[in-house]
Every structure is written in structure tokens, then in C-alpha cells.
């Protein structure tokens, strides 16, 4: 952008930063409170009047949650479910989205809308028949069943998102590739996929979060404590009579850290350069 006036540009930039910083601080205030609470020792949590900053900060909650409460093993389970979900949903969503974007398919509109239907029914309603079916096909008490369930309810988003994304990429690009000797499949994998990275990144984030923070499927479909996911373990701190705030907050923060790291890493793909350059030459 050509700045008409360097001073105006500087002020604009400053204002933008101030706005962003203010927003980020206020929107994350609850989390700052969470972090502060997670550093409180048990006796401080129920003390009145409640102070935000702990008088004697301690890391004992984190150590307790990680070791005594076996969060370290549940961590692996969550990772497995989430990675499997992202891989499956992304593959299925990208291929189906591509099909809808580029090919003439009978009843395309009807199919697209029907796929959305799968998302509309409240999962609590079909969880019991789903559990029954999964048990019959041998997936009882397996983390794969959780990944499968979360994948199927994430698919509507994945398909639509990728369909939209592929539609923004000009058809000339594939034509150029096929002229160069690729068949449709090669054109898809070698040319289209790299261009669709921002769409895939957005889909990946959504699927990862859906799987990572899922409670319903992970709680009902898994019966062994050893195969619990992080979020299910987290809920055990939300008691009927008492909430152990300090332990709950440290467990929550531990649960959120991998997600935040994932956000950082996926950024590169989200903010990709535009496709304009790919037509030249």
C-alpha cells in the first residue's frame, strides 16, 4: 500500500497496535485469572477475600496433575485421537470438497445439503445407537471409535470449507497441469493441494479442536481409565459439591498448551502467499 503520508501511516499503525493489544489483553483476561489460580496452593483457593495474584505461588498443582493424576498418560490418548481425526477428516474432506468443486455430480446440491444434516441432529440423541453399532463392529472401548465419531461430525465443515476453497482457485491451473501431461489425480495431489493450504489449515485447526476438547464421545465410548483423554480427566475436577479450582485451572492450562502450540505452527500455512503467481509463466 502506498502511504500518502508517512506520519499518517505511523499513527494508523500505532492505533492498530493499541487496539489489538487492548483487545488481546481483555479477551484473555479470564485466562490470566486461570493461570493465577493455577499457581495457588489449596488453602489459598477458598480464602476470602479472593485475591487475583496468589500470595505464595507454587507449581505443586501442575506436578500433582501431571504425575499423581496421570495426566501424562491421558495426554498421549488425546494426541492420538486428535491426530487421527485431523488426518482422516482432512483427507476425506479435501477429496470430497474437490469433487464437489470441480466435477459434475448427480444431485450435487442435494448431497451437499444432506451432508450438513449429519451435523444438525444433537449428538446426545444418537450416541447410544452409535455406541451400539461401534461395539458390534468391534470398536468397543477403542480410541479409534472416538476419532471416527468426531471425524464424521467434523466432515460437513471440512467438505464445505474445502469445496469453497477449491472454487476460488482458477480452473486454468489444472488445465495447465493436464496439458503438461498430468492426469486428474496427479493434478490434484501435485498442484491443487499445495495451493489449498490455507483452507486445509483452517480445516485442520477446527478438526483438531473438535477432537481435543470433545467430552461426549470420549466419555461414553471409552470405558478404560487408561484410555481417557485429557478433557475427560479434566472433568473429574468439576465436582458436585466442590470445585478444586487450583487443580482444575492447572489441568485446564495443561490441556490448552498443545492447542496453542498448534495454533502457532498452523499459522504459516494459514497466511500463505496468494495463488496469483502460479498462473504466470
Amino acid at each position: 500500500m502506498i502511504a500518502k503520508n508517512p506520519k499518517a501511516a505511523l499513527i494508523k499503525s500505532l492505533l492498530t497496535h493499541i487496539f489489538l493489544i487492548t483487545f488481546c489483553l481483555s479477551v484473555n483476561f479470564p485466562l490470566i485469572w486461570m493461570a493465577a489460580t493455577s499457581l495457588k496452593a489449596g488453602s489459598e483457593v477458598n480464602r476470602f477475600p479472593p485475591k487475583i495474584i496468589p500470595a505464595e505461588p507454587t507449581l505443586e498443582n501442575y506436578s500433582y496433575v501431571w504425575n499423581d493424576m496421570k495426566m501424562s498418560s491421558y495426554f498421549l490418548n488425546s494426541v492420538y485421537v486428535s491426530v487421527l481425526t485431523v488426518a482422516t477428516a482432512l483427507s476425506l474432506g479435501t477429496t470430497a470438497g474437490y469433487a464437489f468443486a470441480r466435477f459434475r455430480i448427480k444431485g450435487k446440491q442435494g448431497l451437499l445439503v444432506s451432508i450438513l444434516f449429519f451435523r444438525m441432529l444433537p449428538p446426545i440423541l444418537f450416541i447410544i445407537p452409535l455406541f451400539f453399532l461401534l461395539q458390534k463392529i468391534g470398536l468397543y472401548n477403542r480410541l479409534e471409535s472416538v476419532a471416527l465419531s468426531v471425524t464424521t461430525i467434523s466432515l460437513p465443515f471440512a467438505v464445505w470449507m474445502m469445496k469453497n476453497y477449491f472454487q476460488t482457485i482458477p480452473g486454468e491451473i489444472e488445465e495447465a497441469a493436464t496439458i503438461d501431461g498430468c492426469n486428474r489425480f496427479q493434478a490434484f495431489f501435485r498442484v491443487m493441494l499445495p495451493l489449498a493450504r490455507p483452507g486445509m489449515a483452517a480445516t485442520a485447526v477446527f478438526c483438531f479442536l473438535s477432537a481435543w476438547n470433545d467430552f461426549l464421545f470420549a466419555n461414553v465410548l471409552i470405558h478404560s481409565e487408561a484410555r481417557r483423554t485429557l478433557v475427560v480427566a479434566l472433568y473429574s475436577y468439576v465436582g458436585e459439591f466442590l470445585i478444586e479450582w487450583n487443580k482444575l485451572m492447572s489441568a485446564s492450562i495443561l490441556t490448552m498448551i498443545p492447542v496453542i502450540i498448534f495454533f502457532f505452527l498452523i499459522n504459516k500455512n494459514l497466511f500463505k502467499g496468494v495463488s496469483a503467481g502460479s498462473i504466470k509463466g
Partner: protein, 293 residues
């Protein structure tokens, strides 16, 4: 290879997965709506009731209360989440220092487990010890603390704010991804033609974003209709059912009153209304010119 077949090959794994895993359970749940399915009575038989459950539910004014609240809740969520998401996607689409840091900070609320988010918001809105009251009193907007989540009307406002807080990152991510696809050459050409930034936004950016706005609206609407945790853990549908939405209502019917058949019928009515709204919306959006097609 015939073009049609290639398309089918790309599409079939998804359709297969959906059919194998979800279709049967969904069909079963749908069929529950036509049988008694009284959990307290399942051992004693499960007679066919036809549209009995539908009639009972439609005659129940609390069902309509829940639906009405759901429309309000959904509209508020869609509008606020879309606007916030779009705003930040646009702001962060430029070259800004520390863009990535800002971006991640903006996304963090999305990572909070929903039960924890609900509890934190409850705590902040606490009538006597909550920070929100403390701040409002300090700013002299209030003289006495308000029990926000127990004031009909205000409770809905705050649960909407809490949910938007948690979910706006979803729209932000969708819009950001979409913005990446806009060729810079379009903007350059427009600027050469003398178009100001407002014109550029309405003539180039917005039309490009239409499909993403469509899918974001649809998914946020579906998510809101089904949204459960925030409301259940903040107000349980209170005060006096002013935040009772259809998903909490259905949960109570099925798991508190143990009437699964009725809950299924209510879900079907909800899905039909939702589907009707969505199809109308999609048709309307599609009937306008799509760019570049």
C-alpha cells in the same frame, strides 16, 4: 478416465464413511420419535405411537419458549461471531509486526474447554464477588452489584457474550483462510482505477468472501442450535427459562424425564426448522451472482 468416475472416486470415501458410521445411528434415533421409548418403561414394551410425541411437544408452550429463545440465541451468535471474526481477519490481513503473536492470542479463547469457560464466566459474573460487577461499580455505571445470570433478559445477553467469546475464533480462521485466496492483482487494478479502501472492500473483498460467509453462518447457526455446555453450566436454562434453548430442553426431556421418544421427536422438529432455514438461506445466497464462475 471418464470425468464422472474420477469425481465419484474422489467423493466415495467420504460418503462411505458417513454412511457406515453415522447414517444408521441417525436413522435409528429418527425412528425413536415414532415409538414410545420411555426409558423408565423399556422393559415393559415399546409401543408404536405414530405422531403422538409430535403432538405432545407442539402443544407444550415450553417447547415453543425454548425454540423462541433458540432463535434469539442463534441470531445473536451468528451476527456477533461473524462480525468479530471478519473484523479481526481483516485487521490481521495486512503486514503488521508480531502478526502471528496477535493471531494466536486472539485464538486462545477457542482452545478453552467449554465447561471450564462456562465456569470462569459464571465466576466473573458472580453477584457479589465477580469482577464484572466490581469493574462496573468502579466505573460508576452501577451502584449495587447485579446478579446478572439471574436477571431475565440480562442472563441471555451474558451467555451470548460468553459463547461469542469462546467461538469467534472459528469465523476468524475461516475468513482469514478465505482472504488468502484473493489475488493481489485485483486490488492493484482497483487502486489504479482510483478506488478507495471502502470501495475496494465492498466491491472486491466482500464478494470474494461470500461463500465463506455462507458456510460460516450455516455452521455457527447449527452450532448454536446444538450449543449446550455454555448455557447448561452457566444458567441451566434459567432464570425462569429465559435462557432455555432447544438443546437443553431436549436433554431434559430425554435424560431427566427419561422420555427418549419425545426427545427424538423434538429433535426432528428442530432439525426440520433448522434445515428449512438453512436451505432458504443457501438458495438466496446462491441466486446472486457468484464471482468468477
Amino acid at each position: 478416465m471418464k470425468e464422472r468416475n474420477v469425481g465419484a472416486i474422489f467423493l466415495s470415501p467420504t460418503i462411505l464413511a458417513l454412511c457406515l458410521v453415522i447414517l444408521l445411528p441417525i436413522l435409528f434415533s429418527v425412528s425413536m420419535a415414532f415409538f414410545q421409548f420411555d426409558l423408565l418403561r423399556v422393559g415393559r414394551g415399546n409401543p408404536f405411537v405414530g405422531i403422538g410425541h409430535f403432538v405432545t411437544s407442539i402443544n407444550n408452550k415450553l417447547f415453543w419458549n425454548a425454540l423462541g429463545n433458540t432463535f434469539l440465541w442463534t441470531a445473536a451468535n451468528v451476527i456477533l461471531q461473524l462480525l468479530t471474526g471478519l473484523l479481526f481477519a481483516l485487521i490481521l490481513n495486512r503486514k503488521i509486526r508480531f502478526k502471528v503473536v496477535y493471531y494466536v492470542l486472539i485464538l486462545i479463547p477457542w482452545a478453552t474447554p467449554s465447561a471450564v469457560a462456562a465456569l470462569i464466566w459464571r465466576w466473573m459474573l458472580h453477584a457479589e464477588l465477580g469482577i464484572i460487577n466490581a469493574v462496573l461499580i468502579r466505573l460508576h455505571i452501577l451502584t449495587d452489584p447485579n446478579p446478572w445470570l439471574s436477571i431475565p433478559g440480562w442472563a441471555m445477553v451474558w451467555v451470548v457474550i460468553a459463547r461469542v467469546w469462546k467461538e469467534y475464533a472459528f469465523c476468524t480462521v475461516i475468513m482469514t483462510a478465505a482472504l488468502q485466496g484473493i489475488p493481489a492483482s485485483l486490488y492493484e487494478a482497483a487502486m489504479v482505477d482510483g478506488a478507495g479502501s471502502v470501495t475496494r472492500f465492498f466491491r472486491i473483498t466482500l464478494p470474494w468472501l461470500k461463500p465463506s460467509i455462507l458456510i460460516a453462518t450455516v455452521l455457527v447457526a447449527i452450532g448454536s442450535f446444538n450449543g449446550f455446555n455454555m448455557i447448561w453450566m452457566m444458567t441451566k436454562g434459567g432464570p425462569v427459562r429465559t435462557t432455555e434453548i432447544i438443546s437443553t430442553f431436549i436433554y431434559q426431556t430425554g435424560f431427566e424425564r427419561y422420555q427418549m421418544g419425545r426427545a427424538s421427536a423434538q429433535s426432528l422438529v428442530m432439525v426440520l426448522i433448522l434445515a428449512f432455514m438453512i436451505i432458504t438461506y443457501i438458495k438466496r445466497m446462491k441466486s446472486e451472482e457468484e464471482p468468477f464462475r
